[in-house]
């Protein structure tokens, strides 16, 4: 029902728009090389296709398609209509399939991350490619002297969390038989026929100018479905004295109250997963940036935890149309458990055609 409603809204938006102007088309591609113990892996995550444009004077639409570098068909990542003008009381609306406003980085596409790989702890909560779902989200730009935005969303599928056959938590992975239930690619139903829970999200974020070059933002997020819930808090401080120099300090923590049946893994019914990261990124001239990140997660009752530091370097010779990134970080080997750590080196070349770019963080 909700999907039909959302589909209808998107379709009506396009029809009402009746625009003759072409939307903007962009492509983002990459080449990744990583090295962990064995021979280096060389692969591409495929191509992201972005089609963006105004539907009418009040709304714009963004469609993101992903063609993975394999035989799988083109995947619809997002198709969303955003109404930012025309609604009363400072309200805005997003409808369609999109990344909900939940936590600091859920809305960001992976090619924006200077640290290449999403923080492991956050991925364990939001899924490998983060939380994408079909639904509606209302945003309220609150009438306060500073930027304060409240988002409330309702979605046809909830967060299933990590489900890629890898169980780094150390918890037993029982009746999991593969499949792709979430990490952004959400099945309608679990494998056992159980319906996916509807998810609801809320986020209240603030942005404050400390002065012309110093900015501070912080937010709190909450997610609930009938099985589980989590709350999170995040902050970002940025000093940007000029176009090519900036210092960013950013952190986020999420506390996830798991149910006894969490993603087909048996967990204690009162288990709590705490996950987060802290990063510092310094852009010191037009082309170069360097940063460090600490990524952590912990199952409290099981007393399983991990803390993985990494450093990352970025090189953007010509603005953001082509970016080379290198990350050296400690990771657990999927097959050896969380307590066996190895150094993993990843190099990523990312390029773009069109206005949708891996722009600076």
């Amino acid at each position: 029902m909700l999907q039909k409603l959302v589909g209808g809204l998107i379709l009506s938006g396009f029809l009402i728009g009746q625009t003759t102007a072409n939307p903007q088309f962009s492509l983002v591609g990459d080449l990744v090389m990583d090295h962990l113990q064995k021979d280096p892996n060389l692969y591409s995550s495929g191509i992201e296709i972005a089609v963006q444009g105004y539907v009418n004077p009040f709304a714009r639409s963004d469609v993101y398609l992903h063609k993975h570098n394999d035989d799988s068909p083109i995947e619809l990542e997002e198709a969303v209509i955003t109404v930012e003008r025309g609604l009363p009381f400072g309200l805005g609306l997003r409808a369609g399939k999109f990344r909900p406003d939940l936590g600091k980085i859920n809305k960001d596409h992976a090619h924006l991350f200077p640290f290449i790989e999403a923080p492991k702890g956050i991925s364990m909560v939001l899924g490998e490619e983060f939380y994408t779902a079909t639904g509606l989200e209302v945003n309220w730009l609150m009438p306060l002297p500073w930027y304060s935005n409240l988002s409330i969303g309702y979605f046809d599928t909830g967060i299933s969390g990590q489900d890629d056959g890898k169980d780094e938590s150390g918890y037993n992975d029982h009746d999991h038989e593969g499949g792709d239930s979430n990490d952004g690619h959400i099945d309608e139903e679990h494998h056992d026929g159980e319906k996916q829970p509807k998810g609801s999200s809320a986020r209240w974020s603030h942005f404050i100018d400390l002065n012309e070059v110093n900015h501070f933002e912080f937010g709190t997020s909450y997610y609930v479905d009938h099985e589980k819930s989590f709350g999170g808090a995040d902050f970002k401080y940025k000093w940007r004295p000029n176009k090519y120099r900036s210092l960013t300090l950013q952190g986020e923590v999420i506390q996830f109250e798991l149910s006894d049946k969490h993603e087909e893994k048996t967990v204690h019914p009162k288990e709590v997963l705490t996950a987060g990261y802290l990063l510092v990124n310094f852009q010191f001239n037009k082309a170069w940036n360097v940063g460090v990140m600490g990524d952590f997660w912990q199952f409290e009752l099981a007393d399983i935890h991990s803390m993985d530091p990494s450093i990352f370097i970025g090189f953007s010779p010509v603005e953001e149309s082509a970016v080379l990134r290198i990350r050296i970080g400690q990771v657990a080997n999927d097959h050896e458990g969380h307590d066996k750590k190895h150094l993993k080196t990843t190099a990523q070349l990312i390029w773009s055609l069109g206005p949708h770019k891996p722009h600076r963080y």
Partner: protein, 294 residues
Amino acid sequence: MRKLFLILSILSICFGKVRVVTSTTDLADIVKSIGGDHVTVISIARGNQDPHYVEVLPSYMIKVRKADLYFMVGMELDFWAKQIIDGSRNQKIEVVDCSVEIEKMEIPTGTVDASMGDIHRFGNPHYWLDPKNGRLIAQLIAEKLTKAEPKNSDLFQQNLNLFNHQLDKAILDWQNRYANLSGKKLIFYHNSWPYFSNRFGLETVEFLEPKPGITPSPAKLNRIIQRIKSDKIEVIASESYFSDRVPKFIASKTKVKTVKLAQSVGAIEGADSYIHLFETNLKILSKAFGVEHD
């Protein structure tokens, strides 16, 4: 009674003004000149900031939220402004593209793509750097302010006349005092100056950037160094937001003088108004070329 009068006065000061936001400080200064005390004006980009790339901060949306008018440079220079205006959720704001009446220079012909660097499809957008275009911008601003606040139309017209008079007088004065700049050859860092050069007769022989927005390579720097030596070029001028590193490197290999110019109001000391922007830049250039007027 006195308190009531005071409150009403404060309210009229706060709410009786046209609230204007502009993309750049140049437009903001012209709005101030025309609107006087009857407008409040905020510029999104700072004077010493590159107007091509402004990071869209949520706080800018708050600045635009209650604005009546938004004046943008247009020609895809301040493309970022759209995101700010949309995010502000301001339904009554009128967005004005100040480039509409401008006679545009360097409109590319043929296919335009990223191999040409950061090129603008609708022509070079740095049109405010010709003071004569300041008149056209001011005329448009006066019309829009009058439409927003018709009761002050006479005042806006008076201010427009005064602005035009001061600008015309200044242009005559500059063309007289800085006539020795005409024909002088120089190298600019970025192609921001065709309107300025055209007005004051400067001859641009080269840009440090091989293509707009592209950092010069060592090979390009080497070619420039050779050209400076062979053509006896005296001055490299750059926008205030560029690093000194490259011009200083070239200066260390040649006898060229390096200067920073104000690409916008507030970019460098002295350029504190639209008219002073030209006065400051011309003074800097005439000093660099050694043709200072007494």
